[in-house]
Symmetry: none
Subunit: 128 residues, 4 copies
DNA sequence: GTGGTCTAGACCACG
DNA sequence: GTGGTCTAGACCACG
């Protein structure tokens, strides 16, 4: 596991988002064991306290659970995972559409720009 | 002028974005005089140092210019304003499309969600 | 036997309290044999060390006794059971009255709230 | 300010509860400035990180707010303070009545014990 | 001056 | 072995 860190957000937030994405896309499934604080800290070369903070927040969101003495696990509540996915998507969408409107773009402009972006993206990867 | 502040970003960034939007949509036109640090600080009930920082950054981006002894003005270079508009839109778009893909949405999903969002938005305001 | 575990207290404490209550209300009478560590661990799906710890503490309080080679038994000293009951009730009472006073409730407030609570409780269960 | 620490709960929880009580009983009123992390740490002879943790949690409960660069303040939302008071009282009450019933006490027993407790308490302080 | 983050590391409770 | 708490202290962003 590797994460590209940037300086715009605290490391614990970046790791949080990375893990939430892993869970949302199913790379980490419901009930899967999560690496221990110590192991993940070693792997990412980050202080264990920072990892601890990440997990604390994930637990508060209900997406991760501690089983005492056994370690941490992805929640088995699939509805919680769906909720997180929807929350994350809704926030991205709001921020985007809201921001574009504040810049003076119309609904039609916005749709057109997104269509271009996903088409370019596909071409960049797929070729032909 | 009022701004809804949140706690996710520094205040000076929030004021910066607010002013850039005002300029991009033409509420503040090229060559217009900008409120003084003192006045804006009083109006927003913000520490003048924070306003100072905002203007410093806006100047660094070339969208605002100081005329010694006369005050600060929106740049008269319309191309600079267009550049800022494009930069802001591009960043919103990248962040959005990139984020959605990381959550597992396809290009088609993304376009559909945006179409819904702009349609709802229109209905919410205009109605028909 | 099933216990609703929460995360606010160690599991061994929760099991301890559960067993003490069973004894205090007579579900487990003086001299009754207690399930073996092995069996109870299997039944509750808990690490046997945790059950071991529970029994160790119960023995320290004198409410459970080990008969070598025969297993563990509820004490035959009824006075010990009465003492435990009083201790548990006194602690609940102190914590409650003390806590309410620290929140600014008067004695009269406290009595009234308790009267309501036991009345509601009765209605919820008994009806009419 | 002095707090009697015990070992049954983490220090940050004990400080949290202490502050919540101060706010609930009005010793710290809505909008009052709270001591800085550094000052409170020095006063209680506790590590600043521990105080930081306390405030983090209080903020999450909405009873304390950070004004960037200015310090922390008791929320001005009196309804939030009332909510906290009710939550704390309800938890005490539930824990008490629930616990007593599990020990086999009837509603009448419970009311009688509470009446005695508040009467004794009054005598202990006031005398007659 | 104020809070926020992060590192480094100890120690302990729990299972 | 695992997470939870706490200490000690650096450094930085913000106002």
């Amino acid at each position: 596991m590797t994460i590209e860190f940037d300086n715009n957000a605290p490391i614990y937030i970046q790791i949080m988002n990375y893990m939430k994405k892993q869970i949302v896309i199913g790379k980490l499934g419901p009930g899967d064991k999560i690496e221990s604080v110590r192991d993940l800290a070693a792997e990412l070369q980050i202080n264990p306290n920072t990892i601890q903070r990440t997990f604390q927040e994930l637990e508060r969101e209900g997406i991760v659970e501690t089983k005492r003495g056994l370690g941490r696990y992805v929640t088995e509540e699939e509805s919680t995972i769906m909720r997180i996915k929807k929350e994350m998507a809704a926030e991205l969408l709001d921020r985007f559409v809201g921001g574009m409107k504040e810049l003076g773009f119309t609904g039609a402009d916005i749709v057109a720009l997104v269509e271009d972006a996903v088409r370019d993206d596909a071409n960049a990867k797929g070729g032909a």
